[in-house]
């Protein structure tokens, strides 16, 4: 089986605090994989290591059969950080152009991708405003657009829909599903919103640096004998402690 992402016995500590403890996880191509878990569980840490922005203490992470960190692979990975990292003195358009020019794209591709990404997050009419005049949700949307800019095979989105209104959230999720179904992209999403978790193909629940449980949303609901996904989150946490 060719995995898109293979995480093997990965541990990570910050100082004495063990943040991730022997994580094993494989993600197949063309799946949406959701990470859920309480705040401070280690989701962001794990996701950053997949992108190669952080190193593992022990264990290995392979993306598209190449060991991370790998500079060349970053062309194939679109990353949206949990906190917006934008140049606030520049306009939305200038931000998009800047990030686009860091990837291997030619001029027409840059134009096409910018108009696609901006349109997807409904920012086309706001692109000439400076980012410091953006609202919180607009910044979030711009970050998402930047993650999509180089048309990557793998999308890693750290809480992409925080601060985005329900209508736009729905249309973003529809687009994520379309990207998965039509373009075969692999998508990792961390989220605290359970109805989003339910839309994923697989969900892993992380708590205190270990994967407590994993499976399709349906399996998880059956496992805990509940019909509301919120309760999976609550019960999984309770069983452990």
């Amino acid at each position: 089986m060719n995995y898109s992402i293979a995480i093997n016995q990965v541990s990570k500590s910050f100082g004495k605090k063990v943040v991730l403890n022997q994580i094993d996880l494989t993600i197949e191509e063309g799946q949406i994989y959701g990470f859920i878990g309480p705040s401070g569980a280690g989701k962001t840490t794990l996701v950053k290591m997949i992108v190669g922005m952080d190193t593992t203490d022990t264990g290995t992470i392979h993306v598209l059969n190449k060991k991370m960190p790998n500079l060349g692979l970053l062309q194939a990975i679109g990353y949206m950080a949990q906190s917006d990292a934008l140049y606030s003195e520049l306009t939305g358009m200038e931000n998009l152009k800047f990030f686009a020019s860091l990837y291997k794209l030619n001029k027409t591709e840059i134009k096409e991708r910018i108009s696609y990404a901006a349109d997807l997050v409904h920012l086309t009419n706001e692109l000439n405003k400076r980012v410091k005049a953006y609202s919180g949700g607009m910044k979030r949307r711009l970050s998402l657009a930047i993650a999509l800019i180089q048309n990557p095979k793998i999308l890693i989105l750290d809480e992409p829909t925080v601060g985005i209104d329900p209508e736009l959230r729905l249309s973003i999720w529809n687009e994520l599903l379309r990207l998965k179904n039509e373009e075969g992209k692999t998508i990792i999403v961390t989220t605290h919103v359970m109805d989003e978790a339910e839309r994923c193909d697989f969900v892993a629940m992380i708590r205190d640096g270990v994967i407590l449980t994993r499976g399709t949303p349906k399996e998880l609901k059956e496992q805990y004998q509940v019909d509301n996904f919120d309760e999976v989150f609550l019960k999984a946490g309770r069983n452990d402690s």
């Binding site: 790998n70 990292a85 934008l86």
Partner: protein, 351 residues
């Protein structure tokens, strides 16, 4: 290509930030102008060489805290070689005082002391013998200068140092805070999730801020020379070259130190540690008067070399060959800091 993208972005951001631009380009001019009006002198025990001077006068000179040294032959080379502040010589029954004048305040103090000593001796001679007053008076001393002339002011010597210092200070501050902003807003970390290399980021920062440093340097140098009328004996191109190298050192040091700062405020805290001490060794205070260990501290300060080269070119009219040693040291400093910068980014990504 990616480097160019980052450079372009840095320029866009800088041009939007009018206040920082003003700080970079206008503040040094204002301060230099102020200094021009405010300069003040300082005193150090001067070193005086004597040739053919009678022992009586030497004693009197020594009493006025002049460090007197005896030589057999006089000459300008002697003053430069022995690093004397002045040379007093009896030639054809006339006293000739040659002042090095690389620091006019020292030269003036020395001249005054010599004058006093000579007239004191003349007076005591009158008192001791009843002979006719042997009128050796102030005007009888023929005063000559190795560098500059009696019109040279302290500012003339100070100004090369000041030009260098302001270039260093503002480039240091602005490049440091520029990279720091990338760190604190998280965009630097975000950049690490793109295929950009660490070396490309460092290069882009050097070039991006370098462009502004070049403009600033040229403005400061031209303003100093044309408006403030600073002495410039050597070539203006050499002055610009020295300052550009110094700006490169400041740029790389600023971005490097910003690694160790968590906020703009902490970056400012580096000024008393990394910048102010350099002023002490830049030649504003004469190095000769310092203890040996202090002098060796001065030798690890980039501004020490830049100031030495700038003084050489602007005041003494030295050529490129004479200052090549100083320039080389500056290049070494810059290279060293640039390499450290690339290593410092490892904190964010190993590749």
């Amino acid at each position: 290509m990616r480097t160019v993208a980052v450079i372009k972005r840095i320029c866009q951001e800088m041009l939007r930030d009018k206040r920082t631009l003003a700080l970079l380009f206008v503040a040094p001019l204002i301060i230099l102008t102020l200094m021009y009006f405010l300069f003040n002198g300082n005193t150090v025990d001067p070193k005086l060489g004597v040739v053919n001077i009678d022992n009586n006068l030497v004693k009197i000179l020594e009493e006025t805290k002049i460090n007197v040294k005896h030589y057999d032959q006089a000459g300008r080379e002697l003053i430069v070689e022995e690093e004397l502040d002045g040379l007093l010589e009896l030639k054809d029954e006339k006293l000739v005082l040659t002042l090095q004048n690389s620091d006019p305040s020292i030269a003036k103090a020395l001249q005054m002391k010599v004058n006093q000593s000579v007239s004191f001796q003349a007076q005591s001679k009158v008192l001791n013998s009843n002979a006719a007053p042997l009128a050796i008076q102030k005007n009888d001393i023929d005063t000559q200068y190795v560098y500059g002339n009696s019109e040279t002011s302290f500012f003339d010597v100070l100004s090369p140092v000041l030009v260098g210092f302001f270039v260093f200070f503002f480039v240091f501050l602005i490049s440091g805070i520029g990279l720091l902003k990338e760190r604190t807003t998280g965009t630097l970390e975000r950049l690490m999730s793109t295929p950009i290399r660490r070396g490309e980021i460092v290069t882009a920062y050097l070039v991006g801020f370098g462009i502004f440093a070049v403009i600033q340097t040229v403005i400061v140098v031209l303003f100093s020379i044309n408006v403030l009328d600073m002495v410039l004996v050597g070539s203006v191109w050499h002055v610009i070259l020295i300052n550009l190298l110094l700006a490169l050192v400041a740029l790389s040091l600023g971005t490097l130190l910003s690694t160790f700062a968590a906020s703009e405020f902490q970056m400012v805290q580096f000024i008393p540690i990394a910048v102010i001490p350099q002023v002490f060794f830049a030649g504003i205070f004469p190095l000769e008067g310092m203890a040996n260990w202090l002098q060796s501290i001065g030798k690890i300060m980039p501004i020490y070399y830049a100031a030495d080269a700038l003084k050489g070119v602007m005041y003494k009219g030295l050529g490129l060959k004479d200052i090549s040693g100083d320039l080389f040291v500056l290049v070494v400093f810059a290279t060293f800091f640039i390499i450290l910068n690339i290593f410092a980014l490892k904190k964010y990504r190993r590749l």
